[in-house]
């Protein structure tokens, strides 16, 4: 793809997680092998089997200055807005818009879009109703009549899955093509893909893509642990003793634009999106294919979309959620594409900032871009012994050398979803 109008470049990024409140500090922590998964503070874990998580340290006021928003939207939305802010500041879009005349400004706003990837509703959002249910003891008539006295009128608006889209729009007046993906773990990274496709198709000149989520809450921990998906220690992706994932919370955002848009305004380009592939396993909500067929098909589609071959890839950022079956099928899927010996260095970051569910793929994208720029594949410090069922599989507890300036990001979700994205450092 040589046409600069169709070449998609990254000109801004932002991230917030337990491991740091901007891209540089998260990268610094990962490079130093520091995990942010520590005893949590949201509630007392004393009686809980799972006592750790990667909580964001920022309070609501440092995330978003406008105090009115603290009551009218959820914490996950504040995280998303914080990451959008960073990406927008980092991209220099606003200074450029300032320099435009009135009609050019209108066109700029109409041609700039926002796409969010959201966790959708969480369990916690419904707890505003608990006092009312308790008070009315199962009497639905009383529930209805007492409702206005006991539940905030803002309840519905506070919990809209598309709140980040709405409030980022109001803040920046970016009125172009938009959307909100609620596709479980794929949400954030799929919003990046749909954003880049919107630019390729000429529907927008630039897009902010953001993923945000705060899956760390008691009910979710209870269910994930009850279903054998959650570890009681820091996750060990691809290790023989891996036993599940651990939640974090956070968000990441990128500013994407066509190369011609970036050149026109003299923007600093940090990377280029080369292509993507997305497929479904069609095996149900929680089941996945053991043979990794969905993973390999997603990678092959991304390679074809980018017009490159597997041996050009320098590193892989795996989904690596440290679930037994998921990691194994992922490794198999990777091997189907690269062969036994052709796999480039593989890493994954969930040991550092936990599993961010809807934001997981997009924060991985932002951090693997840092890895490309530093020409260094970070190690997975929790890895003690690679699962012999997977080997040979080039993961390591210490840093590895990159084989090129191209990375592959793999993101997987419930519903048998597989998404892979190829990017290059610039």
């Amino acid at each position: 793809m040589k046409d600069p109008a169709k070449r998609i470049v990254i000109t801004g990024a932002g991230a917030v997680s337990g491991a740091g409140s901007d891209v540089a500090s998260i990268w610094e922590g990962i490079s130093a092998g520091r995990t942010a998964i520590v005893p949590y503070e949201q509630w007392s874990g004393e009686n809980w089997p799972v006592k750790i998580a990667a909580e964001v340290k920022e309070n609501n006021r440092t995330l978003v200055a406008d105090r009115k928003l603290h009551k009218s939207i959820s914490r996950t939305d504040l995280l998303g807005l914080y990451a959008v802010d960073q990406a927008v500041q980092n991209s220099g879009l606003l200074d450029y818009r300032e320099s435009l005349g009135d009609s050019e400004t209108t066109r700029f706003n109409d041609r700039t879009g926002i796409m969010s990837g959201s966790g959708g509703g969480n369990y916690r959002s419904n707890y505003d109703f608990l006092p009312l249910i308790s008070e009315t003891k199962g009497d639905l008539h009383a529930f209805g009549s007492e409702l206005p006295n006991m539940v905030t009128p803002m309840w519905l608006l506070k919990n809209l899955p598309n709140n980040v889209l709405c409030h980022a729009g109001i803040r920046y007046q970016f009125k172009g093509t938009n959307g909100c993906v609620t596709n479980q773990c794929l949400s954030g990274l799929q919003s990046v893909v749909e954003s880049s496709e919107a630019i390729r198709a000429g529907q927008a000149d630039r897009m902010i893509a953001v993923g945000h989520d705060s899956p760390f809450e008691p009910e979710n921990v209870r269910y994930y642990h009850g279903h054998g998906l959650m570890s009681e220690s820091v996750p060990r992706p691809f290790d023989k003793d891996r036993d599940g994932t651990v939640f974090g919370e956070g968000a990441a955002a990128v500013n994407l634009e066509s190369e011609s848009s970036a050149m026109d305004r003299g923007a600093t380009v940090s990377g280029e999106l080369l292509g993507s592939g997305c497929v479904s396993d069609a095996r149900g909500i929680l089941r996945l294919r053991e043979d990794g067929d969905g993973v390999s098909r997603a990678i092959e589609l991304a390679l074809a979309d980018a017009g490159i071959s597997a041996d050009q890839i320098g590193m892989i950022c795996a989904h690596g959620n440290a679930n037994k079956a998921s990691d194994e099928s992922e490794a198999r899927g990777i091997r189907r594409v690269f062969g036994e010996t052709g796999i480039p260095p593989v890493t994954g970051f969930k040991w550092a900032y936990g599993h961010l569910i809807a934001a997981s793929g997009v924060i991985d994208l932002v951090l693997i871009l840092e890895a490309l720029r530093h020409q260094r594949v970070p190690g997975i410090p929790t890895l003690k012994e690679v699962d012999p069922n997977l080997s040979p599989f080039p993961v390591s507890s210490s840093p590895q050398e990159t084989a090129s300036d191209i990375a592959l990001v793999i993101c997987r979700g419930f519903g048998g979803m597989n998404l892979s994205v190829l990017l290059r450092a610039r």
Binding site: S118, G120, N122, L130, L140, L147, L160, T177, A201, F414
Partner: protein
């Protein structure tokens, strides 16, 4: 004259609906044509204590009769049941579905609702973890607290997607979107884009939702967004009427089979209409309020027409978002007038929410099917309950009864809380734009 863009054309070859006025597309369409209301008093829960006691419920719905002995139904919530039923109908109608050899060329794009838990599950949490109303996480650790894989599976943000891909063996691109009331429209717009960029040859696309439950209805009652005409449910939804006072909450699903035009014509498929254009904008105004001058919806409608290569005078029917709230209807009319210019008097406009109520995340998908059927039959369905037209909404509303009128192209608007606006353009399969 607008130029027809040179990209892959997309045919609508199958439709399926479950709505408050019918549990299939034919019944729904027949009732919309005669302006029959699906609004009444909900039977699935006691709404008698709420400020709004009315709703547009799906009636006599038995998914096990549509999908007999189907193991997936156990994992299906009420809206998932609507989705599976409507999608089953759409595939049967299209006469084509994924096979082992082409499953990877089939995709799925759904607009899913925002409900994240059932009321019964929430009551269970209250019983264990908030007996006095204050939430204590440790209550969830009780040995008897149910950690059911069924509930867990049902309430993931993409559970509907997972059930649909599994049921029909769809193995290509799949996505689930939510932009409140614009969800269904945006899901179809996404499907159109996926087909155009060649990632799939066929897509199942649609939306499903049910907020007609104690928590969902609460949300809208608290906001004051729903009509409180509790004594006259059938007249409560009256888009564009001067006396309108809110929408009626509905539920349901609509699904379409979309197909590469060449493939559809090669196999001799019966084509309802071409899904010809998609427009998509953000109002950037307020979270629930619509911009009075139509700034936002205007860009979506303009984009959709441009994308389809259709000029305003070629549009014969608009299925309006028309929720029956004061602000939406006024703002939407301002937008329609701004874009259509002098053609606005020729184009027939109606909101079928006047009969069906507001299906929220399913609305845009169901209304896309209404446009397809309107084109096929040359009928602009009636905007029911329009007795005192609002002078601020002086467009050519289909008042009194449905109109027989050839429809070359139709436009459907979906405008969501949060400011997302979706417009879709449908073209008659034999209409060649001048």
């Amino acid at each position: 004259m607008a130029e027809i863009p040179k990209h892959r054309r997309v045919a609508i070859t199958g439709v399926g609906m479950v709505t408050p006025v019918g549990n299939d597309a034919a019944t729904t369409w027949a009732n919309l044509r005669v302006g029959k209301s699906g609004c009444g008093y909900p039977e699935s829960f006691d709404a008698s204590g709420f400020s709004t006691r009315i709703g547009a419920e799906v009636k006599d719905f038995h998914p096990d009769k549509i999908l007999p002995r189907n193991k997936l139904l156990k994992y299906a919530s009420r809206p998932h049941g609507f989705a599976l039923a409507a999608a089953t109908e759409a595939f049967a109608d299209a006469g084509i579905s994924p096979t082992e050899s082409d499953a990877h060329r089939w995709g799925l794009s759904v607009g899913a609702g925002m409900m994240s838990v059932s009321f019964d599950d929430l009551k269970t949490v209250q019983r264990f973890a908030a007996p006095d109303g204050n939430f204590d996480p440790d209550g969830l650790l009780d040995d008897d607290f149910p950690v059911s894989p069924v509930s867990f599976s049902r309430w993931q943000s993409n559970s509907g997607l997972g059930l649909l891909t599994q049921q029909f063996g769809i193995r290509g691109y799949a996505t689930s979107v939510h932009t409140a009331c614009a969800s269904g429209g945006q899901a179809l717009g996404t499907a159109l884009k996926v087909l155009r960029r060649g990632q799939c040859d066929y897509m199942l696309a649609g939306g499903f939702d049910s907020m007609l439950n104690p928590v969902g209805l609460s949300g809208f009652c608290l906001l004051g967004a729903v009509s409180e005409d509790n004594d006259t449910p059938e007249k409560a939804s009256r888009p564009f009427d001067l006396t309108r006072n809110g929408f009626v909450l509905g539920e349901g699903a609509g699904f379409l089979v979309l197909e590469d035009w060449e493939k559809a014509t090669e196999r001799g498929a019966s084509i309802y209409a071409e899904l010809a254009g998609d427009g998509n904008s953000l109002s950037c105004y307020r979270i629930t309020d619509s911009p009075p001058d139509g700034n936002g919806p205007i860009q979506a409608i303009e984009q959709a027409l441009r994308d389809a290569g259709i000029s305003p005078e070629e549009v014969d029917y608009i299925n309006a978002h028309g929720t029956s709230t004061q602000m939406n209807d006024q703002s939407e009319c301002a937008a329609m007038k701004a874009v259509m210019g002098q053609s606005i008097d020729q184009v027939h406009v109606s909101s079928t929410k006047s009969c069906m109520g507001h299906l929220i995340a399913a609305a845009g998908a169901v209304e896309a099917i209404v446009c397809s059927l309107a084109i096929r039959d040359g009928i602009a369905p009636v905007n029911a309950n329009l007795e005192t037209p609002d002078p601020d909404c002086d467009v050519n509303l289909v008042r009194g009864e449905s109109r027989s009128v050839p429809i070359r192209a139709a436009l459907s608007n979906s405008l969501g809380f949060g400011g997302s606006n979706s417009s879709l353009v449908f073209r008659h399969p034999h209409f060649v734009s001048s």
